[in-house]
């Protein structure tokens, strides 16, 4: 601090500290409390109750959580959620990066084609689900017709426990590849041209430039895309619910579907809330891992 503040300004500062600014903060604070904090506290409280809609409610401590740890179906759902998330992050990342590399090149009608490619991302998930359900139909669907043109025998797609997850991931990949593409395109546009010039002088091939310059430099963008996609895929509900409702049997039942079933079909709010709390922990944990990964890749950005 330089010099003593004059009396007047001191009084003003006191006003500042005594809360004159509070009216500006209250709205944000209230909204945060009402929309974010309260629902979570309430869910946590519900998860400690034996609460079947339509019946009496009673406090049962951690019994819902104890039940969760002996619930085979919950663990299977967790495994499926992780597999589904892993695949629906990985595939859009691969295809999105390829698409971005293609659309980064100059060619006629590029803007128009980019627009077309981005379209799946803008469609409503439930509408997408309905269209894909028709396409997956083993007898009447177009996918099996296309396969038959190639001489491949008809597949059961979402109508078989063994292929249902990959088939759903196919839909997810189709819808979200454009998002990854946009993120990576942004990254490509921001890359400096000097490394490429020196690589050209050194006689690097196209593949070498891709492998040793482009890919390392866009890693931070890939991590951002993976982060967005990961959180989104973990929470995925609409596409799975509209296409299979978690079936056949429980073959595509993710935590979200199971949680919905418990809370809204079986009306077991207490147990449903316990699943929601554990699911929240899982989402936060995975988010932290991805954020940490992002931190690790930050230095490349600084160097680039």
């Amino acid at each position: 601090m330089v010099g003593r503040p004059a009396g007047g300004s001191r009084r003003r500062r006191l006003n500042w500290h005594s809360g004159g600014y509070m009216p500006f903060i209250w709205p944000a604070l209230l909204i945060t409390l009402a929309v974010i904090v309260f629902p979570w506290v309430f869910t946590g409280w519900m998860s400690l109750q034996n609460w079947q809609v339509g019946a009496e409610r009673s406090f049962i401590g951690l019994a819902n959580y104890a039940r969760l740890f002996s619930d085979e179906r919950f663990f299977e759902a967790t495994g499926r959620t992780l597999l589904y998330t892993f695949l629906s992050v990985l595939l859009p990342l691969i295809f999105g990066t390829i698409a971005a590399l293609v659309f980064h090149e100059e060619f006629p009608l590029r803007g128009f084609l980019r627009g077309i490619v981005v379209m799946p991302m803008m469609a409503t998930p439930v509408a997408i689900a309905l269209v894909w359900t028709m396409m997956f139909h083993p007898q009447l669907g177009i996918l099996n017709y296309l396969l038959s043109l190639l001489g491949i025998p008809p597949q059961l797609w979402v109508f078989d426990p063994g292929t249902v997850i990959p088939s759903l991931v196919l839909v997810e990949t189709w819808q979200w590849t454009p998002l990854v593409m946009l993120v990576v395109l942004g990254g490509l546009a921001s890359l400096p041209s000097e490394p490429y010039e020196s690589a050209l002088i050194d006689g690097a091939t196209w593949f070498q430039r891709l492998r040793f310059i482009t890919l390392p430099m866009i890693v931070p963008f890939l991590v951002v895309a993976a982060f967005l996609r990961g959180v989104d895929a973990l929470k995925s509900f609409d596409i799975i619910f509209a296409i299979t409702q978690g079936g056949p049997g429980t073959a595509s039942e993710t935590i979200n579907i199971y949680l919905y079933l418990q809370a809204f079909s079986f009306n077991d709010m207490g147990y449903g809330s316990a699943i929601a709390v554990i699911f929240m922990v899982l989402v936060v944990a995975l988010t932290l891992i991805l954020l940490w990964l992002r931190g690790c890749t930050g230095w490349r950005e600084a160097q680039g």
Binding site: G54, P138, Q139, D160, T244, G249, F266
Partner: protein
Amino acid sequence: MIRSFGRTTRRQFLVTGVAAGAGVGMPFVRRALAATNWRKFDGTSIEVSMIKSPRGDIIQKNLKAFEDLTGIEVGLEQVPEQQQRQKSVVEFSSGRPSFDVCHLSYHVQKRLFEKGRWLADLKPFLDDPELRDPNLDPEDFSAAGKAYATNEQGELRSLPISVDYWIIYWNKDLFQKAGLEFPQTFDALIAAAEKLTDPATGTYGFVARGMKNANLPVWASFLLGYGVEPVGPGLQLNTTSEGALAATRMYQHLLTKTAPPGTIGFNWNECQAAFLQGKAAMWLDGVGFAPPLEDPTKSRVVGKVGYAVMPKGPQAHASATFGDGLGIADASQNKEAAFLFLQWALSKPLQAQLLQTGSGVPFRKSVLADQTVRQGVKMPAAWVDSVIGSAEVSKFGLPVVVPVTEFRDIFGIALTNTLSGADPKDELQKATDQFRPILEKSEA
């Protein structure tokens, strides 16, 4: 608990038919309903929550007639089935439902609604000559309807609007080509399904729902034929009995050996698509799915469809029955006006339209038996015959317990698992063990 209902003979149908008299259409309403003071609640407004369905559509289409008749303003909302069920349960348990009249699915919600005591007792209204429409007689409801609407104390807390029997749609062409008659027993059904299956041409003998939850009525149709009540008196679970095992084996056999590939994920619409394309010889499903089959713009089998009552099982002849009704929220402030709406929704002209368009089947015997009503039915005569034949052997398709949804989910998964090769005996045992604590807890 499954109940069996008294048989109604054709003669009784005719007698009631004559008694019911003729004349359908809107002018009829005023004449027949004249004794009731329909305008008593002129200016009141009520809210109605309905499941999105052909039943709801018919009421919505005619709503203006009700508003003109009574001066009551109706806010009617149709919500898809699953969501409407959730919404009504959540709103009822909050104590302040936003609606006065609620549409309920008896086969899923009967016990739940009774336990919650959410609906108003209709007796005071039925006893009030100013409110009661003399044409509406609770005795007119079929036995299944009465059983659905009446609770354990014998109170009537809702009115049954539409019944759903499970029948077999069959492709006459495919049967004729194979030189087969329509089967009369389960064994004959299996044999016919096997003979009609030819994967090389893509035709299959039988198609029905394999998707979990949706598949329960198919299994129930077989269970009933084997004389099995899934939940017996005293909450006894009979789902591991010999009969249950035989029914499950039959389900597994038909859906894996004589049905199109992928039935494991089929709901009614996929089954219907297969049947509409002429690719399936028999389809077991609810009676309300008939209209598209006779629509030339949607169907390749117009005029070739046979409608049949479920064949006889080794132990019993039964048609799995489901149904829905309308009730008045006990918390409603406009119960009398709501009661007028209920009476109107169940009046003969509306119930006749339901049957005539093939969108549902009234529980009211007098409507079913009315020759004038029957002449107006747009479906083939065989469809109406299958309805009347099913009414004679009608039995509840799902146990009347609180956790019906859990029952459907757990046993639905077990059935689906048998379609991917799991052993029926193990699956039934596992499902029964899983369901027992839920059932016991719900009635505790």
